[in-house]
Subunit: 231 residues, 2 copies
Amino acid sequence: MSVRREPISRRDRPAKPALSRGWITETAVRIMREEGLEKVTMRRLAQELDTGPASLYVYVANTAELHAAVLDALLGEIDLTGRDGGEGWREQLRAVMRSYTLVLFQYPQLARSALVARPSGENYLRLVDRVLDLLSRSGAPREQVAWGVDKLLQDATATAAEQSARERDPAAEEEWSATVRAFGAAGADKHPAIAAHMPALVGGSPEERFRWSFDVLVNGIVGTPVPGAQG
Amino acid sequence: MSVRREPISRRDRPAKPALSRGWITETAVRIMREEGLEKVTMRRLAQELDTGPASLYVYVANTAELHAAVLDALLGEIDLTGRDGGEGWREQLRAVMRSYTLVLFQYPQLARSALVARPSGENYLRLVDRVLDLLSRSGAPREQVAWGVDKLLQDATATAAEQSARERDPAAEEEWSATVRAFGAAGADKHPAIAAHMPALVGGSPEERFRWSFDVLVNGIVGTPVPGAQG
DNA sequence: ACCTGAACACCGTTCAAGT
DNA sequence: ACCTGAACACCGTTCAAGT
């Protein structure tokens, strides 16, 4: 009965860790932090894990699921308490939403994938649960709260996907400039309303827009009954 | 001095039309209608136009710009009058937004690309101008109207990108089911708020959600001042 | 059950060379 | 100026074969 030995050549390098969903996700997160989500591909990830791409399909169904797992890992960083906001439900909710937005702003490509493939991981559930809880303290009917949470999260996700794609990606920056230029060039004859609303249309800091959007949604949600629901 | 002749073999097939941005876009729209946006690639498009992919780069900077051109072509189908809605600005605005939403629902992948790379074509400008005009009839201050139009269009785009990705794409359908399952499985102990809001969280028809979202946004926009602006 | 090499069927974009 | 063939540097996913 002989003792199994690693070949000597392997003793120099750290042992190759066994594949597992957790290890795959961790590695994917590392690649994303270092090089961006666009580098988190099955092939690149397999290379990093010192195996072939086919091996990953034992643990991950496809690329979309991989990206969803990465997002859920990131959502673990959100401060769910909202204690920075202060005492009231509205301030705490704003703080939680800001924390969520900030995470997505750091990884805008992740926000895009969240819009398409809705996450369903543990950290996402915790976030939804907390936002529901805070918003329900407004006293609004359950249907409004349920649909309202959807809107709040969708708004933050869409804003992150859109707004902050521009910061690193020069192509996206170019598209945004094109839009700004197009608005600016809109003549008062052909597009009078655009001309009339002009600096505001493209103005405002992300922070100002965040605050205003949040208040618009919360005011609208709390004040607008769901038709057919008992208010 | 000899007369140039087309080779006889060419006389059977229709003459190959000269490349141009317009013809490229038209062809791209046709491919999208027939086979979906995912088939609208530089290579596939070049094949359809009977040339090599490199030739397209004379007219189109990259794939994102190509998709933006396709979107703008589709936006030409929107009914900007809103006359289906009735008389008031709110009803007409709702009709225009519904028309926009319906176009995007037909081509959800296009909605995704619109979120990332904001369009700046002529049809998009017309849409923005009209929505600004209608919303300004609410009497809300200019800043609110300008930022509000942004929110309305973003909401419709995000909803289309999210909701209707599920209809054709089985992978997206699977992700959505996973979310529904996760919500349903959320125990009252670990996620009490999710459990408490449960059928509503995943319920409601697209039409019900559209109407409610529209009212939430319009109510919120009209009733929430932009900080620092003269109201 | 888990892992793999190899293959299939694609991508976007660039560049030197042609007309 | 416009167009092209060929190349570079990648993709996701499947499958038969191995352990």
